[in-house]
């Protein structure tokens, strides 16, 4: 089998898994409507919260022509991609264990990494839809500025962010394979990123040493790039440092996480705990 055929088959498998998740999600119609309104409540909360926040330091740190509401809406909407990346791989593994399909999936001609990658497509697509709804409510009801945004740049930053964040997600799945419950990988990365990543406030308001720590988390680059593209109307050239930073994280995290995941998988097949939960 040549490489292009292999790639074609893998892509078809990814789409099959995506279609599976879409079909399952479609069968829960009411949940979709609830999500739509949940996003509205979230957006409204940030809008009213932003009306109380008036700090000269904060105002100085925001991109020109924007306000705290826009800043925090982009921060929260795109920070959620990190949450999805961290949870999607291990939750699809856990779900397959619980509904009894894991063994049947593992005896097919599809490797576990492809199964997990396929299982992450729908959550990421769902997250994108969720983000569009978030920003849509913001624009429709609370004056979130959509004009002049560099959407191509935003998509590039998002793609690089997903790659970088997925490294953490694969590490998290590896942890779950070995230890079954509780996940300090998720806890540590989400906790640290929410403090230093610049979701609710600019990184510049942090103490100097925490600003250095912020530079070691990909979410910082992701949110900076996203805000620059959507709110600051930055060009692709201006977005390059954020995108390059994210690709650097991906280049380091993905091979390391795959190696650890392969070890964990082999370990689970050796100890017989692959399908335990």
């Amino acid at each position: 089998m040549n490489d292009s055929l292999k790639l074609g088959i893998t892509l078809r498998k990814l789409m099959l898994i995506f279609r599976r998740d879409f079909t399952v999600a479609r069968s829960y119609r009411f949940a979709f409507v609830i999500n739509l309104f949940q996003a509205l409540f979230g957006t409204a909360s940030f809008y009213f919260l932003s009306r109380f926040i008036a700090s000269p330091t904060l105002q100085k740190s925001l991109p020109a022509g924007t306000n705290y509401f826009s800043f925090v809406l982009v921060g929260v909407a795109f920070f959620d991609y990190l949450s999805v990346a961290l949870s999607t791989f291990d939750s699809s593994l856990q779900e397959a264990r619980q509904n009894g399909t894991l063994e049947n999936l593992l005896v097919t001609q599809t490797s576990l990494p492809v199964i997990l990658a396929g299982s992450s497509l729908y959550p990421f697509a769902g997250m994108s839809l969720h983000t569009v709804v978030y920003l849509g409510w913001g624009a429709l009801l609370f004056g979130f500025p959509l004009q002049g945004a560099n959407w191509l740049g935003a998509v590039l930053v998002l793609a690089a962010s997903i790659l970088a964040f997925s490294g953490f997600g694969i590490l998290s799945a590896a942890y779950l394979l070995v230890f079954k419950r509780g996940n300090p990988v998720n806890w540590a990365i989400l906790g640290l990123s929410s403090v230093v990543g610049g979701m609710m406030y600019p990184v510049s308001v942090l103490p100097k040493w925490l600003q250095y720590v912020a530079r070691l988390t990909p979410v910082t680059y992701s949110l900076e790039g996203m805000r620059a593209a959507i709110l600051g109307h930055a060009s692709l050239r201006e977005l390059l440092p954020s995108i390059a930073g994210l690709f650097l994280f991906a280049a380091i995290l993905l091979p390391v996480s795959f190696a650890i995941f392969s070890w964990a998988l082999r370990r689970a097949k050796t100890t017989g705990t692959l399908t335990h939960f």
């Binding site: 088959i9 078809r12 498998k13 099959l16 898994i17 279609r19 599976r20 079909t23 399952v24 069968s27 509904n99 009894g100 399909t101 063994e103 049947n104 999936l105 593992l106 005896v107 097919t108 001609q109 599809t110 490797s111 199964i115 070995v178 230890f179 082999r266 370990r267 097949k269 050796t270 100890t271 017989g272 692959l274 399908t275």
Partner: protein, 267 residues
């Protein structure tokens, strides 16, 4: 070696001792010290049906999981159609179909057809081949009325037939069944056995290995019987051979005699 569908040579499997509390935290990766299989060797010819019997914890499921590549043997060599389960797991998976007796092994909110199409795709069948194969399996597996219903709406017996159809979608050379009638009522189990005999053993000439506690099933389906006890292979023969050796007329009595001999240390 190529004439054998399954070939095991001195297969051993050890699991780690269970740890809990602070020990589990301090020593998360424990040593493999608990034996599950010890020195298992046998060959199964193409087209033969092998039943694996033994008490709970004898090692039946461990043996089957090694053959499906879900477990890696600690020592020894296990081959399926000439491919080693540790070195060529992907090639082994191409040769096998696997079905367990559990009834929660599908995506319950997908239809039977959607489930079959998904698993066919994961086994490298194109959409067209999958559709064609579903058509071929519909009549013998009595799937006609079930295909477009969500799996959660199907009876346990129907889910089992669907599970078997899934295992046969990619035309495997070896079918591996772990307690296939475990969750079926006696009538449904009898029906399922007839179905296996007619559609798998009789019609396709597929090699089959199954673990079972139901001796009727073993008598009806198996060409050879392997009895495991404490992870060791303590008996390996045809039904007739086992009955002759123990000089009784029923398999149940034969296994009782064998078990008593083993307990006295005379395998």
């Amino acid at each position: 070696m190529e004439n054998f569908a399954l070939s095991l040579e001195n297969v051993e499997k050890y699991f780690p001792a269970g740890t809990s509390g602070w020990r589990g935290f301090v020593y998360p990766v424990s040593q493999l010290t608990v034996p599950a299989l010890r020195g298992i060797s046998f060959d199964v010819k193409k087209g033969e049906t092998l039943a694996v019997v033994g008490a709970n914890g004898a090692g039946k499921s461990t043996l089957l999981r090694i053959l499906t590549t879900l477990l890696i043997p600690t020592r020894g060599r296990a081959q399926v159609c000439g491919f080693d389960v540790s070195r060529d797991p992907a090639k082994v998976r191409l040769q096998i179909g696997y079905h367990t007796g559990g009834d929660a092994c599908f995506y319950s909110r997908l239809t039977a057809r959607e489930n079959l199409t998904l698993f066919a795709g994961l086994n490298n069948l194109s959409a067209r081949s999958a559709a064609q194969r579903i058509k071929e399996l519909t009549e013998p597996f009595h799937l006609g009325d079930l295909l477009d219903r969500q799996v959660r709406m199907l009876s346990t017996g129907n889910v089992h037939r669907l599970g078997l159809a899934r295992a046969m979608m990619h035309r495997p050379s070896v079918l591996i069944l772990d307690e296939p009638t475990r969750s079926l009522d006696p009538l449904a189990a009898a029906d399922f056995r007839k179905f296996l005999l007619r559609e798998i053993v009789g019609a396709h000439g597929t090699t089959m290995i199954f673990a079972s506690h139901t001796l009727t099933e073993v008598e009806q389906l198996a060409d050879k019987i392997a009895m495991l006890d404490g992870g060791r292979l303590v008996a390996w023969d045809t039904l007739h051979g086992i009955k002759s050796a123990t000089r009784v007329s029923s398999l149940e009595e034969s296994l009782e005699i064998l078990t008593r001999h083993i307990a006295r240390g005379k395998p």
